[in-house]
């Protein structure tokens, strides 16, 4: 299982950087993202950067990076006629699916961690003056934990959509629309709740400790991740994919 997963991971990580901008353009685009979010913004913000709201970009960066490549996972293989050959290999269904999810997560979350490391180095280089500047444990838990769980969420949802879509473009459209519906849907649902409920929720939030809220948030995302990944695994059937 691990060897099979490793083979898929190897292939995907060779292909993913070339997906949007060709052989050299992909890594170059990533370097620009790292330079902007890992060097330029921390330099502009100053010593407080590591515990500021700006760290939210580290959480959202993998979502953006994964969204750009995950539609290709199965729809792209189908479009370029490589899927049937892949399915005719001895790789198990699980290793093909998990390998693609793992590769997308490695790409997005890996970039996010690189960006985080780079921003810490930048802030210390410019503002440290011999003292180590680092984010708080809470910020670290949110940034590292949540960016991982969001990466898995985006990769699993993307793979699920890509399994069903007949073209990459169709998969991208479904993902974009789905993403907007979920984000704006949550916003409008919360706004449309009765005033008393909204006040109760904000009071409850304020009275609960920050650590508890973080753990609760991470747990909710973990459950969602597992549910989406499980439904993608149920959807993955060799014989169905071959006929489609």
């Amino acid at each position: 299982m691990m060897a099979d997963l490793g083979a898929i991971l190897w292939k995907e990580l060779k292909e993913i950087p070339q997906q949007s901008s060709g052989r050299r353009g992909g890594p170059f685009a990533l370097l620009i993202v790292l330079a902007v979010f890992g060097i330029f913004i921390p330099l502009q913000w100053g010593a407080d950067f590591l515990d500021s709201g700006q760290m939210a970009f580290v959480v959202l960066l993998p979502v953006i990076l994964i969204a750009a490549v995950i539609a290709d996972a199965f729809a792209g293989e189908r479009e370029r006629h490589t899927l049937e050959t892949l399915l005719a290999s001895p790789l198990s269904d699980r290793s093909i699916l998990l390998g693609k999810v793992a590769a997308a997560v490695a790409w997005g979350w890996g970039a996010s961690l690189l960006c985080l490391g780079l921003s810490v180095a930048t802030v210390n280089f410019k503002y440290g003056h011999g003292k180590l500047l680092i984010f708080s444990a809470q910020t670290g838990a949110i940034v590292i934990g949540m960016s991982f769980l969001l990466s898995v969420l985006m990769a699993s949802a993307g793979v699920l959509v890509s399994l069903r879509a007949s073209t990459v473009r169709q998969a991208q459209q479904i993902l974009s629309i789905g993403f907007m519906v979920i984000v704006f849907g949550i916003f409008f649902i919360v706004r449309s709740l009765p005033r008393a409920w909204q006040e109760w929720m904000s009071q409850k939030g304020a009275s609960t400790g920050a650590s508890t809220l973080i753990i609760l948030g991470l747990a909710v995302f973990l459950v969602i991740d597992i549910a989406i990944l499980a439904s993608a695994m149920m959807r993955f059937r060799r014989s169905r994919l071959i006929i489609e």
Binding site: A3, A7, K11, R23, T85, S92
Partner: protein, 316 residues
């Protein structure tokens, strides 16, 4: 190494049937492919060739009947079959963004080849096919013939005892197709591999295959060596070059006991004579009916003649 089957057979099917909704794509195919042979599976488009390969690889389950590949049951041991076989399906299945070497490296990893083995094997196969110098190029820049060669190398990477090739020369120009056929024959013989080859190119089947099966609308209608099938067609083929071959003459020829089939093509009179029949009375008839005979060519039926006859039987 094989599963629990007989070692001298690579493939054995019994009443293999597959339906897609109300359409019967494969209808009771019973077939045996001996180990070490090149078996040609002939049929027109939509006859069921690709479905057969998918069933044999365990990618689809049969609606009824059974199949063993290398002794493994296709219903329950698909993964073992795929581990011990190689397949070039309808499309080359190459990753165009990757280089030739990376394409082979990926599948070598899939087949869990040790690092030293896979490096040596990639070099050996690419070298043999004349592609070693271009191993670092992205496959997208390659011609279709080169891609097909690389795809064939991929099928043999892990030295499987059996490979499936689904119309490997389709879409190639005649020169590239002939070169690929030659490479394939040499590789297959050198590697001692059993080849299950689907094609609708009859010349290809005749050159490459020790045995062929003909499939028509999902049914296997003939199996044997090309010679056996030609004998089955029987008689001899006669081509008369000249002028004045009227419809009236054709009608009279078709009434003769010697003549099995008579038709004109591009001004030439083409006849199939029954076994042991003399040509002289037929030529006399042609001349007496006003035909001018310049040349008479005699020969055996080709595999193409057999194939066309089998396809015409269906229409009749």
């Amino acid at each position: 190494m094989t599963g629990n089957g007989t070692n001298h057979l690579s493939i054995r099917t019994e009443g293999l049937t597959r339906d897609f909704g109300k359409v019967r794509a494969l209808d009771g195919v019973t077939l045996e492919v001996p180990a070490g042979s090149i078996f040609g599976f002939l049929g027109p488009n939509g006859a069921g060739k690709t479905t057969t390969i998918r069933l044999l690889l365990g990618l689809l389950d049969p609606t009824s009947g059974s199949a063993q590949v290398l002794g493994f049951d296709t219903r329950t041991q698909g993964a073992e079959i795929r581990r011990k076989t190689g397949a070039l399906l309808e499309h080359s299945g190459l990753y165009e963004r990757l280089t030739a070497a990376q394409n082979l490296e990926f599948y070598a990893r899939v087949w869990r080849m040790a690092r030293a083995d896979r490096e040596a094997r990639v070099k050996e196969l690419l070298g043999h096919l004349g592609l070693w110098e271009r191993r670092g190029e992205a496959v997208s820049a390659w011609s279709r013939g080169m891609k097909q060669k690389l795809a064939i190398a991929r099928t043999m990477l892990h030295k499987p005892p059996l490979i499936f090739l689904d119309e490997p020369t389709a879409g190639l120009d005649p020169v590239a197709a002939a070169a690929l056929r030659e490479e394939l024959a040499v590789l297959a013989s050198r590697e001692g591999v059993t080849v299950f080859l689907t094609t609708h190119n009859l010349a290809e089947a005749e050159k490459l295959c020790g045995r062929v099966g003909v499939i028509r609308q999902g049914k296997l209608v003939a199996v044997g060596s090309p010679d056996e099938l030609r004998r089955r067609e029987g008689g001899q083929k006669v081509e008369i070059i000249g002028r004045g071959f009227s419809e009236q003459l054709l009608a009279k020829l078709r009434q003769r006991a010697e003549v099995e089939q008579a038709q004109t093509m591009n001004g030439r009179l083409s006849l199939n004579l029954r076994d042991g029949m003399e040509i002289a009375p037929v030529i006399s008839l042609v001349v007496s009916e006003g035909g001018e005979v310049e040349e008479v060519r005699r020969g055996k039926a080709s595999l193409e003649d057999v194939f066309l006859t089998l396809m015409q039987e269906e229409k009749q």
